[in-house]
């Protein structure tokens, strides 16, 4: 049951072979047993989850079930869910119970999926290792002394460790793809504007995009069918016809042109990742694809550009956490300014403060043109690189992350090293393109440490998620990396 696909679970539920309540209990018990070790969830609420499961069972009995009715899905703790504590991984919101549902949560509620719990994450989605969470680091289920990646590390861990059927994540600079790669699961960040940001706590508004995390491309497609759709409450939500993301999964890949950016296979890429990715490319050739070498000349600037723009937006987005209306307020203060300073100093962690300070600096009078405006210009050049590249190929492939999961604490005191772990994913957000990561092998085991998962990144053109899922699914039919599971803990 734990290794079943969403399609199989849905069939079992609709055939009444198992009830949603039973399935939900199965996961809740598993979470109770394993979460103390993995720390994938910040909040579970058995009562609320089981109530939803009972409703789902009624719907299943009535024959009005959708594909995901009754399926327990983990929600990243960045999505506001009515009646649920929604912390965004921060002390600032440790006691915040949302009075409303995010659009994504509504979409899952509408189809009768079960909210299994809120997953751990880097504080305000700022991090690549899940170590910045106020609620403690998440452990990689393949090796408990390794990071799961971030910021959607809790969701990635929960999917990999079979602590949920599937999960949601958000991706501002790689926060779905990088933890998916590091935990050996599949994750997709859709085209910017495809999933409504309403109710998703903002990090960097022009880059943030929610997407699914699951064990296969097929599961991602079913999840995406639920998550997408126009929402008038998000001005950047795109008005497009609803589509079935699973419709082309079975299409053969003959004639597919895969672009390999030379910049993604240069210095900084670890050997085991390079080997696994190259093996995957070889597999694609067998499946009928041809390879085109392409260049993304400005992608080398994506990390510095990102670390100007994302903190700039974050510094403003996080201003509402001031201790006045909700969230953390310092217990003692002398006046208004002191209340602001103490509440924010005590409520935010070090990485969040670092980014607020960077963002404040680059927006300041006298620096705005040199940093913010310049970065916006380069952002357009980076997007243009992709537009040019997609004239020569259908999808772009490369590594998701330069290395496999690193050790907890390994990069903690070196933010730049940490930021470089998103070097292949960030440009996709800057361009607003869809990107995904699927498992494509494992690194070498050494010194008694197991080999850690490697992710293959697939980048598509705007709104080309259907093709990307097809490309990923065909690979998953031919290989079994995606069905590997960590040793039982």
């Amino acid at each position: 049951m734990l290794n079943s696909s969403l399609q199989q679970l849905g069939s079992a539920l609709r055939a009444r072979k198992i009830s949603s309540v039973e399935l939900t209990r199965l996961y809740l018990d598993r979470i109770a047993a394993l979460n103390p070790v993995l720390n994938a969830y910040i909040t579970t609420n058995a009562e609320a989850s089981l109530a939803q499961a009972r409703d789902a069972d009624a719907r299943l009995a009535a024959g009005t079930a959708d594909a995901l009715t009754g399926i327990p899905v983990a929600q990243k703790d960045i999505f506001c869910a009515k009646g649920w504590r929604t912390t965004c991984g921060s002390k600032m919101l440790a006691n915040f119970v949302s009075p409303y549902d995010a659009h994504v949560i509504e979409q899952f509620n509408n189809v009768g999926a079960v909210n299994l719990g809120k997953t751990n994450m880097d504080e305000f989605a700022m991090g690549s290792s899940n170590e910045t969470s106020y609620f403690g680091a998440v452990k990689n289920p393949y090796s408990q002394d390794a990071v799961p990646g971030g910021s959607s590390g809790g969701s990635a861990c929960a999917v990999a460790a079979r602590l949920c059927a599937a999960a949601t994540g958000t991706d501002t600079g790689g926060s779905i793809r990088q933890p998916a790669a590091l935990c050996g699961i599949s994750g997709l960040k859709p085209t910017y504007g495809t999933v409504s940001r309403y109710g998703m706590i903002a990090f960097a508004s022009s880059l943030d995009q929610a997407g699914p995390m699951a064990r296969s491309a097929e599961d991602l497609a079913l999840m995406l069918n639920v998550m997408t759709g126009f929402d008038e409450r998000d001005s950047t939500s795109l008005q497009r016809a609803k589509e079935d993301y699973a419709r082309d999964l079975a299409k053969p890949l003959d004639g597919l042109r895969i672009g390999l950016p030379k910049e993604f296979f240069a210095e900084g890429l670890s050997n085991d990742v390079a080997q696994a990715v190259n093996a995957a490319i070889a597999e694609y050739k067998k499946l009928g694809a041809s390879i085109v070498e392409i260049s993304l000349p400005n992608s080398r600037l994506s990390v510095p550009v990102y670390y100007v723009l994302a903190p700039a937006e974050a510094s403003s987005n996080l201003s509402r956490f001031d201790g006045v209306r909700y969230g953390y307020r310092a217990p003692e203060y002398s006046d208004l300014t002191d209340m602001y300073e103490k509440s924010r100093a005590q409520g935010f962690g070090a990485e969040v403060k670092r980014r607020i300070m960077i963002g404040t600096y680059v927006l300041s009078h006298g620096y705005y043109d040199a940093y913010y405006l310049q970065a916006q210009k380069i952002r357009r050049l980076i997007a243009q690189d992709f537009t040019d590249a997609f004239r020569q190929c259908d999808v772009i492939m490369g590594p998701t992350s330069p290395s496999t999961a690193f050790k907890l604490g390994e990069k903690g005191d070196d933010p730049v090293q940490m930021y470089l772990s998103d070097i292949y994913t960030i440009a996709v957000n800057l361009a607003g393109l869809p990107g995904m990561s699927i498992p494509c092998g494992f690194g070498a085991a050494n010194n008694g440490n197991p080999g850690m998962p490697v992710g293959l990144q697939i980048i598509g053109n705007y709104f080309d998620e259907v093709r990307m899922l097809n490309v990923a699914h065909q690979y998953q039919l031919a290989t079994d990396w995606h069905s590997r599971a960590p040793q039982e803990l």
């Binding site: 506001c80 949302s98 903002a202 998000d234 001005s235 950047t236 956490f321």
Partner: protein, 503 residues
Amino acid sequence: MTWEIVIGLEVHAQLSTSSKIFCGAPTAFGAEPNTQADAVSIALPGVLPVLNKGAVERAIKFGLAVGAHIAPRSVFARKNYFYPDLPKGYQISQFDLPVVGQGALTIQVEPLSGDAASAGSAQAYEKVVRITRAHLEEDAGKSLHEDFHGMTGIDLNRAGTPLLEIVSEPDMRSAAEAVAYAKTLHSLVRWIGICDGNMQEGSFRCDVNVSVRRPGEPLGTRREIKNLNSFKFMQQAIDYEAQWQIDTIENGGKIHQATVLFNPDTGETLAMRSKEEAHDYRYFPDPDLLPLDISEEWKEQVRATLPELPQAKQTRYVNELGLSAYDASTLTASREMADFFEAALAKAPGQAKLCANWIQGEISARLNRENKNITDAPIKPIQLAVLIGRIVDGTISNSAAKQIFDHLWTPSVAELIIGDSLEEVTRGIYTLIEAKGLKQVSDSGAIEALVDEIIAANADKVAEYRSGKDKLFGFFVGLAMKASKGKANPAQLNDVLKRKLAG
């Protein structure tokens, strides 16, 4: 040595949309604190702004009314600062790309009493004030410092209310000009229906930038008087501030850029904070909102909803109706006034001058005395038109008409003479004239008899008149009118008196 005062205004006009600029919460004034604050108004985590089209339409209307450029693309920016009544920690405003560009407003300047600067030029005159820009933004909430035992209460009902900030060039040279500009602007925003203009409720707030210089020299350093909510305070504040700056410089001091507040109790201005301590607002385009694109088509749709503007009306009143510039300007002081005039004129064709006189005379006097607006006048335009018609056709004299007018000012009477048709109202007014016995006597026999009696009773005066004391004619007119209880047709009476007195 003379000084020149230089004034520019920033006016915040609250746009009359029923919901807020970036969410659906209502904007009604005076609700219980925080009852009109939804998730967006209180800036819960995860909420997003969605632009209210009605606010944009009102901004376009304004731009078109002042002949301004409407930006085909403008951008919302975040103005970042911390304040308890600013829930997001930033205000969504427009910065380098505002929706309305350069325009102009023509004003009629009336000298103000006690205004030193304009005392020399007692004549009213016309002036064009350039408008730099107007941009859309959201209002903040309110901090309440009373009734909270040393703490501060926050009311976010007003947070997110749409504002149009209208910025003028420093084109004004006296408090009189500044007040005239503010009043004209106030009238215009109400005229085109984008703002209720209620200054007490803060729907129309003025910030005034004042500096002084020797004529011909570069602009002096300005100080900004914040949040003036009455024209009277504006005049007092400018007069005080300008004199303070002049005195400071003449005493060897320097003016430092600052924000000042006007204290109505003392009539003085006092610095709040100097600009050196000013915030760095870190403006940047709001990534939650798309650029605001206004198509030519949308602009023209809005233009089609614009009423005839005061300036155009004034020109028409002078050129087509033969009114004086002064009459035209007074009648267009508000849209309601102009509407009243035009409604009356429609029922009394050709009588523009009489309609204007009655509105500016009797009606305005009564309204002023009773502190009412023209929309509150018990007499309706059609009633005024019929009344004027009866003067013109000789049914009643002017003085009788004033008595009828007094009756029509009584709501219970005015209400009896209702109806949309001229016939109905005419019948009603006739009945009233008859009932009050005010019908004019135009019967020549009756007038001659009356004149004969007067001549007989005042033989000595008649003799004086006949010996050359022409001035006594008025005396006889007065006696005759009195004897007729004001009902004698004045023209006829004149003729008869002249003839009989001549002997």
